[in-house]
């Protein structure tokens, strides 16, 4: 009962501390809005292809010519424009100079293709369509030789298009607002460490530690009550930020809120234990605050709270992997977008494990100390 009373008191007092509350709620929401809006382009995965210009030459009366002209007409529908090269134009050079996206030579031996290195996507599209065209041409030629009466049937079934749209289901990825909802929520969860570092220290500064210590309750009840209160209020703040991002900004938090909440709860537990542990390792108030702020800023920066860091290698990757904000956000991404429960459970276990190390260190120092 004493633990609950102390926890409730801690909860109530933090709610009345408007400065802390604004920091825990308004700061992540405003940053989410600013970064999510300003950096939305960084999260756009679509590629827009403009008109494709192809230069071609053809040997006079090549047997493929008539079919190729039909192909050119069809290709126009796909935004691909063929231009017949005059004798004076060097096709390959024109492509190199970026005047065309590809160059095609049609001879009796077949079709020669040269694609632009700079416009590789456009060149690949042309190459793909030409491959489809030659495959179909060869097929119909062979059928015409063997069974001429079947040509019409095959041509009708092939249709006029040389492009088949196929949707490849890649891993789904968060948009900018989804990303910053996760990034800011995980970041502000770690910021719980700041208030936690003053949990017991503030009682000493305020002299209320004397009253708590002379009361007929165990020291551990005070300790656990304070931690419980701190975790509760910080977690409520996280839930509010999460709900706000979901309903105001439409951020995607997936279809398994239980696992998402588990990751965030264990992160708050980690942050509170970390703050408390550091406060017992460093003696001065200023020293504690400085160390915690430096670690939090580095964890936020390298954890991708302010901007996404892709394809990191070597030492940078190691630092990124050490950020609790990064591993919590990664776990959330996997959980929300791939329903990866294992990743979520692993991260929750990691958070709890590290939290227990800091908590045990704090409890050991707390028990050794006379008073609070």
């Amino acid at each position: 009962m004493n633990i609950i009373n102390i926890a409730l008191m801690e909860f109530k007092r933090t709610i009345r501390d408007h400065r802390t509350l604004i920091f825990m709620l308004a700061f992540p929401i405003v940053l989410m809005l600013i970064l999510g809006t300003a950096l939305s382009n960084a999260f756009d995965n679509t590629i827009k292809i403009d008109k494709i210009h192809v230069l071609y030459t053809e040997q006079n009366d090549s047997h493929i010519s008539s079919a190729f002209h039909t192909f050119i007409k069809e290709a126009k529908r796909e935004n691909m424009y063929f231009s017949n090269a005059s004798a004076s134009i060097d096709g390959k050079r024109a492509v190199k100079q970026d005047e065309y996206d590809a160059y095609v030579e049609i001879t009796d031996q077949g079709i020669q293709f040269y694609g632009s290195e700079r416009e590789s996507i456009k060149a690949s599209i042309v190459e793909g369509m030409l491959t489809a065209f030659t495959d179909r041409y060869n097929l119909i030629s062979n059928i015409a030789k063997e069974k001429p009466n079947k040509v019409q049937t095959v041509m009708a079934s092939a249709g006029g298009s040389y492009v088949k749209e196929t949707s490849l289901q890649a891993d789904r990825a968060p948009g900018s607002m989804d990303y910053y909802a996760m990034a800011m929520t995980t970041m502000i969860a770690m910021y719980s460490a700041i208030s936690a570092s003053f949990l017991i220290r503030s009682e000493r500064i305020r002299n209320t530690a004397v009253r708590l210590a002379v009361a007929p309750i165990r020291k551990m009840e005070i300790f656990l009550g304070k931690i419980l209160g701190s975790i509760a209020i910080n977690f409520v703040c996280i839930l509010i930020v999460m709900a706000f991002s979901r309903f105001a900004f439409g951020a995607n938090w997936g279809s398994n809120p239980g696992m998402v909440i588990l990751i965030l709860f264990t992160e708050v537990f980690l942050a509170v234990s970390f703050g408390l542990g550091i406060s017992y390792m460093i003696k001065s108030d200023q020293g504690t605050r400085t160390i915690i702020m430096i670690i939090l800023q580095l964890a936020s920066f390298f954890g991708g709270a302010y901007f996404k860091i892709d394809n990191a290698q070597g030492f940078l990757k190691l630092i990124i992997d050490l950020s609790p904000i990064n591993w919590a956000r990664e776990a959330l991404t996997k959980m929300i977008y791939n329903n990866d429960v294992t990743a979520a459970l692993q991260t929750a276990a990691l958070n709890v494990g590290i939290a227990l190390v800091f908590l045990i260190a704090a409890i050991t120092a707390f028990r050794k100390r006379e008073g609070l």
């Binding site: 009373n5 008191m9 007092r13 009253r211 002379v214 007929p216 006379e370 008073g371």
Partner: protein
């Protein structure tokens, strides 16, 4: 009945002995004054009685039970009014008292009744929904007391409860101490204001260098110093004073200067008044008044410790 009994209590901080084999007994119904200058060992003793510090030796008994083995019983029967305010500024007066009283196992209607009783006792009933950050210094001190008495302790330890407050609040607190005593509480009272201790306390102990050097009623303590007299010389404001030369006069024990009053404690049987006056005249110090004081607690303290209480 002994409410508090201390036997050979010792506390060391490294090589420094803060409390040195101190023994003390306080009876039920007493208002016991604990006098000592800064660093004398009062606060360390109080902290050990209240369970904040562990001793390096000796025993403490509260209502006959050793606090080492009956810590919870001892804590249930002690109320602490710390020198520094120990209240939450962001909780109302009612919430403050309720929270601390709740730690003593009080619940429900009993808790509410005790909280209201404590607030009424210190005259803050009408301010129970107000936040201490809006209180005057005196009101905060009264709330500090309310937080210590709601669980009805048998022994209340008040450490400088009147520091930095207006005379009206000070009188209120002194009357509260008397009322608590009348209600059956035993009180340990420390103060730098000698007149408060003289006015309130039924028995007094003078602590110096971690030891009780004198103990008894006011009269008993004053009787210790019948062989000394105290002479107060008022001089013109701001004139420099050579204390060492004054101490060389035969019979003079201690000299203290408080603004323009020089307090001289001298051996009673030696008639040295002429030499003292001559000293002031020789040093060009203009005497405004001169009087021999009847012995008081301050004289006793100064004689026994060689220091002022405020040193």
């Amino acid at each position: 009945m002994n409410v508090l009994e201390i036997k050979n209590l010792t506390k060391k901080f490294g090589d420094f002995i803060a409390v040195d084999h101190m023994s003390l007994t306080i009876q039920e119904g007493e208002i016991f004054g604990l006098l000592g200058s800064n660093g004398a060992g009062k606060s360390t003793t109080i902290n050990m009685i209240s369970g904040l510090l562990k001793s390096n030796g000796g025993e403490i008994y509260i209502l006959g039970k050793n606090i080492a083995t009956h810590s919870k019983f001892a804590k249930m029967n002690i109320g602490i009014v710390p020198q520094d305010l120990a209240i939450y500024e962001d909780m109302t007066a009612y919430e403050n008292v309720r929270f601390f009283a709740g730690l003593y196992g009080l619940r429900g209607t009993e808790l509410r009744a005790r909280v209201e009783e404590a607030l009424e006792f210190v005259g803050l009933s009408d301010k129970q929904k107000s936040y201490p950050k809006n209180f005057s210094g005196g009101m905060k001190r009264r709330l500090n007391i309310a937080c210590a008495i709601a669980h009805r302790p048998k022994l209340i330890i008040m450490d400088e409860p009147t520091v930095g407050i207006d005379p009206q609040s000070r009188n209120y607190i002194l009357n509260s101490v008397r009322k608590l005593n009348e209600m059956g509480c035993t009180i340990i009272y420390t103060s730098h204001y000698m007149e408060e201790v003289e006015e309130l306390c039924t028995r007094i102990a003078i602590v110096d260098h971690g030891k009780v050097i004198a103990e008894g009623t006011k009269e008993q303590l004053k009787a210790i110093i019948t062989d000394t007299k105290e002479i107060w010389v008022e001089v013109k404001t701001g004139e420099p004073m050579d204390e060492k030369s004054l101490k060389k006069i035969k019979g003079v024990n201690t000299v203290t200067v408080e603004e323009n009053i020089i307090k001289i404690i001298s051996q009673a049987e030696i008639n040295n008044l002429n030499q003292i006056i001559q000293f002031f005249m020789n040093h060009g110090l203009e005497i405004r008044s001169l009087q021999e004081q009847a012995p008081n607690l301050e004289t006793v303290f100064l004689t026994l410790t060689g220091r002022n209480l405020r040193d």
